[in-house]
Amino acid sequence: METEQNTKTKFSDMLPILFHKYGWFMVGGIVLLLLALPLLNLNSYLMNILVKVGIYTTLGLGLNVLVGYTGLVSLGQAGFVAIGAYTTTILTKQFGVNFFLAALLGAFLAGFFGLLIGLPSLRLKGTYLSIITLGFGEIIRTIIIVWQPVTNGPMGIRNIPSPELFGTKLTLYNGGLFYLVLALLILVTLFCQLLINTKTGRAMRAIKGDETAAIMMGVNVTYYKIAAFIIAAVISGLAGSIFATQLGYIDQNTFTFDMSTIILSIVIMGGMGTIRGMFVGALILVVFPEIARPLMDYRFVFYGLVLVLMMRFRPQGLLGWKDTAPYPVSKNAFNLFTENKVSFSKKLKRALHSETRTE
């Protein structure tokens, strides 16, 4: 019996197939394009936006480890960004420390706060956890305002120096800043991708899938939740360090709940749990307010709208389909399997041996 072929295939059904088939080409092409970008001599306004997209993509990747991998909705990422930004800025401006060293210290400090904020998260679920992360972001803001001798309070820090590499300043105009952001983005992307098919990545995803079952399978949920917070914090801190040099001026109003909302919107819109989603999410959500300037203040409604509409109509996000590629099994692993060089319990091995011996 012949069934009629439905020739209309939805674009959204095509996307996963496209990515699956041409994924690596796409990645390669995009990387080449990005590397060549500064050579196109785009005006500084566009370069600024591209740098911003790069930074927000990195921030999205960081939050994705918490939300997408581990299932912890954090609303306080702006706090970690602030820690990285302020630490690096103060060290480079006040003490002349090399930018890269300062950024590392900033990341370390951010990671430490990630640990601190991870601890209460262990006992809290869902909304309560999110609220406490929100509170954390606000506490960081209060510290910025109050700790005037260090942060200069509401007057902020201006004239933030550009990072220096081997004597050359990395600025927007010589393309240095762009390459710096690109380098961080590539590193973070690689990290997040490599994380997935490992013990750590699986543990996190198991926690998201069913935390109780994860515990009962021996996963130390405490450790991995905190690890997720630390990883997200470090990534955010690093991005914050670069962000500060792009802005040139920071104060407590740079790192508000709005920033945390934007990062969350990026993760949700792009597709939580996916890496490709972060790129698309950041691109759309950073570029949109720029091209929607005629809409004036109404364009900021967009972020909230994205969250509401996505949850309603496509909670998995724009690029959030489940990967259908088979799980990577190395030749070595397959050989071990076929040659029966395994035993899934000591008893089993004995039993298998005794079976084969009696044959």
Binding site: L124, T127, T142
Partner: protein, 291 residues
């Protein structure tokens, strides 16, 4: 001096309690923390001011404004949250949605009315009374009395009326309530209506107290009220009342003793301490883990 601050704190805390009640009502029936509640509160205050600017009298403006805010509450549920319940979405989806709604409402208010602070008229006559050496302005007394009255009315509605009974039944077990013939969707809408109503009244009172209103006023107040609700045990109306008072007094004392920059952080500190030590709050119930 300290005593004065304590009483100042009690007055302000009463309004936090009134906002906190909105969180408890919605949490009780939906097990959802309505992140958009703060923005609804801001909407309430701003719409009343807007109506006043349209030359409505003070009384009518407040009345209409309150009703409109109640309707907004219902709208939020109907358009954004109810579809998620129908889809049997995960709880995190509702949380994120309410964050989005909060963002939408505040940004719309900013776009339409501007971000600057606008003067809000007094709802009570100027002047004060002296009781045992403590000064109370008529506004403070008015705020306290009105809030208390409203809380009592709400408690009455929930505990003594039929519709309150349907609310409590739905809180206990939504499926069973439905099977008993209760129109659960109506109960949920009514809950959001009450929640919006009380938020608007609180908004008008607080704006009158400070003499001003602005689009993003819901952010801080919403978080503080949430801290109050959690402290009291979210879902419990008496808990919200007590929680609000405690947050108000603590805030007042902190501002006096530590400095005004610490005013806003007190609520967060309380929130974090409560969530770490006793997440169920003062009047909340403990649940048993089922595997």
């Amino acid at each position: 001096m300290i005593i004065q601050q304590i009483f100042n704190g009690l007055t302000l805390g009463m309004t936090y309690a009134l906002i906190a009640v909105g969180y408890s009502l919605v949490f009780g029936i939906l097990r959802l923390v309505n992140f958009s509640h703060g923005s609804v509160y801001a909407f309430g205050a701003n719409i009343v001011l807007y109506l006043i600017s349209l030359k409505f009298g003070l009384g009518p403006a407040i009345l209409i404004g309150i009703l409109l805010t109640g309707v907004l509450g219902v709208l939020v549920d109907k358009t954004a949250l109810e579809p998620l319940r129908k889809q049997k979405a995960e709880p995190v989806a509702s949380l994120i949605t309410t964050i989005g709604i909060s963002n939408i409402i505040v940004n719309l208010l900013t776009a339409l009315l501007g971000s600057q602070k606008r003067a809000f008229p007094s709802l009570f006559p100027a002047g004060d009374i002296l009781v045992l050496g403590i000064k109370f302005t008529y506004t403070q007394v008015g705020m306290f009395v009105v809030s208390l009255l409203l809380m009592l009315i709400l408690l009455l509605i929930v505990n003594k009326t039929t519709i309150g009974l349907t609310m409590r039944a739905s809180e206990q077990n939504i499926k069973a309530a439905q099977l008993m013939g209760i129109n659960v969707n109506f109960v949920i809408s009514f809950t959001f209506f009450l929640s919006g109503l009380s938020a608007a009244i609180a908004g008008a009172l607080v704006s009158s107290y400070y003499g001003m209103t602005y689009a993003s006023m819901g952010y801080m107040a919403g978080l503080k009220a949430f801290a109050a609700a959690v402290l009291g045990g979210i879902g419990s109306l008496p808990g919200s009342l007590l929680g609000g008072l405690i947050v108000g007094v603590t805030e007042s004392l902190a501002a006096t003793i530590l400095g005004s920059e610490f005013r806003d952080s007190m609520a967060f500190i309380i929130l974090i301490i409560v969530l770490i030590i006793m997440p169920n709050g003062l009047f909340g119930a403990k649940s048993i883990k089922k595997v």
